[in-house]
């Protein structure tokens, strides 16, 4: 336990001091601002143009109603849009950071002295997965709730706080899995490229495709679809979250098996 605590303390310092946490937070702030401004301003700008110069947008029909449909100024739709955009861009950033963390350190020989000092590779992988997972997910949870509170000021209030909290939790679980699984897979495959690629494809395409089918709600990617759609059928989260935990446990077991001996794998 002492080893795990020391590793977790070190990994927290890594995330803070190497500006990785800052990158994640900046990504969230940029995404939130983008969604908020596009929701609040785009329909108004187009409406203003339409009023000022009616001929300019004449051929596009009733553009402001189209834009309002795309970027509705109610809280439920806006949070769904935020979740979808976050799912896309944040996944890319988080997956790249998490997948590269361990292979880069191993390649630079940073674990030779700690392993020789008695640290076990499975603890190293575990700590990295947990810390990246927690930072990746907690920051999403906080920014979702903050965005919701800001949205309350400007948008139509059609999403309850409890609903928002559950959505934020579902997203957090999803992003925890994205970060932790990226670390575990990068250790299993001894490479950052494959897990990063696999995750991006899975998170960017699968939720949308599976949401078209009824069986989609039984897959782990449903935690993202659930948050996009701001649904309140909470029992639908049970199976996907159980699967996420199971997948993480299996990956952790696989990674631990690959980490049994002390042999360095930078050779």
């Amino acid at each position: 336990m002492k080893d795990k605590k020391a590793l977790i303390r070190k990994d927290i310092k890594e995330l803070k001091r190497t500006k990785k946490l800052l990158i994640l937070v900046v990504c969230e702030i940029v995404m939130s601002l983008m969604v908020l401004f596009s929701t609040l301003l785009f329909p108004k700008i187009l409406s203003f143009i339409n009023n000022a110069a009616p001929d300019l947008l004449k051929n596009l029909g009733n553009i402001d109603s189209v834009m309002t449909g795309l970027l509705p100024d109610d809280l439920s739709e806006c949070m769904g849009l935020w979740s979808a955009d976050m799912g896309m861009f944040y996944t890319i950033v988080l997956t790249v950071l998490a997948s590269m963390a361990l292979p880069n350190e191993v390649k630079a020989g940073k674990w030779i002295i700690p392993v020789n000092a008695g640290f076990k590779k499975k603890d190293i992988v575990f700590s990295k997965a947990v810390v990246y997972g927690i930072f990746g997910s907690v920051s999403v949870f906080v920014s979702y709730v903050l965005y919701y509170l800001i949205g309350l000021l400007y948008l139509e209030r059609n999403l309850s706080f409890i609903n928002a909290l559950i959505n934020a939790l579902a997203l957090s679980v999803g992003f925890f899995a994205v970060a932790a699984d990226s670390v575990l897979l990068s250790h299993i495959f001894k490479s950052a490229v494959l897990p990063a690629f696999l995750h991006m494809i899975t998170i960017l395409i699968v939720p949308d495709v599976f949401s078209l089918f009824d069986f989609g709600k039984y897959f782990p990617t449903h935690v993202f679809t659930f948050a996009y759609n701001s649904m309140n059928r909470y029992n639908e989260l049970v199976v996907p979250i159980a699967e996420i935990i199971l997948i993480m446990a299996l990956l952790l077991l696989w990674a631990s098996c690959r980490a049994k001996d002390r042999e360095i794998y930078s050779q």
């Binding site: 002492k2 020391a6 070190k10 310092k13 350190e105 020989g109 940073k110 030779i112 000092a117 360095i264």
Partner: protein, 281 residues
């Protein structure tokens, strides 16, 4: 303390170690010399337990001996301070030991590793290898890539380790450093320890005399007739092979017979450099 017997290791089809054997005695500093790619790092990785050997035996006496290892390129977590790095390796549980180590390597604990010079990083690497108070320390190129001051700092630290009775296996390309600090050296070439010498042996084992003449040396034939090997260093300076008293007497006889006055004459001391050329090149 350590007995290594017939270690074999290959990467894919490339055989690097082909039966390395050596013995390290308690309190001894053993130098490992070899060309690039000779397998020094591979051998040290195997001895530290970080790399599996294909076959052979590594026996420690006693069995539970503690080893510390400083790799040739010690990747340190640069975002930590020296004290934080040592605390991490000590599991945050021994501030007294951390302070002892910082004092030993003469580094302030609150300096961030990213701000340190290479010499300081190397010293922190050595401190890291010593966290567990090991009985045996393996150091791979601890002075490479260091400026003279950095080298002096590390050598001073190694002298302190030697004085504290630690056993050390040291690999370096800087043979002058080995001559200063090692008790014995082994030449690793073609996958085996080809030659082992003790430094006390070679410092007193001069084979050659270096003779400097006033005029160009043209009397080679005379020396050849007496069975003395000569090698021109410049046109006026000659190395004469005189590795026994009889040859030494013959050399002086030749020198008294020739008209070319001798400016200076001294015994050439065998060096690791010369032995390295003889064994490894």
């Amino acid at each position: 303390m350590l007995e290594v017997k017939d270690i074999y290791k290959s990467y894919d089809n490339l055989s690097v170690l082909k039966g390395v054997s050596l013995i390290l005695k308690p309190g001894e500093i053993y130098g490992l010399i070899g060309k690039n790619g000779a397998g020094k790092t591979t051998l040290l990785n195997i001895l530290s337990g970080l790399l599996k050997k294909d076959s052979g035996e590594v026996r420690y006496s006693p069995d539970d001996i503690k080893t510390g290892y400083l790799p040739d390129n010690p990747g340190l977590f640069e975002y930590l301070t020296a004290a934080e790095y040592l605390d991490f390796l000590l599991r945050d549980g021994d501030p007294q030991r951390r302070n002892e180590l910082l004092k030993l390597v003469d580094i302030s604990g609150n300096v961030k590793i990213s701000k340190m010079s290479r010499g300081m990083k190397q010293r922190i690497g050595i401190a890291a290898a010593l966290t567990d108070d090991p009985d045996m320390i393996l150091l791979d190129e601890p002075t490479s890539a260091l400026d003279p001051q950095g080298r002096m700092e590390v050598m001073k630290l190694l002298s302190a380790l030697k004085a504290s009775g630690k056993s050390v296996i040291l690999s370096t390309h800087i043979l002058a450093d080995m001559e200063k600090i090692c008790d014995r050296v082994g030449f690793l070439s073609e996958g085996i320890i080809k030659k082992e010498v003790s430094l006390s042996e070679i410092s007193g084992s001069g084979h050659n005399m270096i003779v400097s003449f006033t005029d160009p040396f043209t009397e080679k034939e005379l020396f050849d007739r007496e069975g003395l090997n000569t090698e021109m260093i410049t046109d006026k300076v000659v190395r004469v092979g005189a590795d026994d008293p009889d040859k030494l007497r013959k050399m002086f006889s030749c020198l008294s017979d020739i008209q070319n006055p001798v400016n200076s004459l001294y015994k050439e001391t065998a060096t690791l450099d010369a032995l390295f050329k003889e064994v490894c090149l």
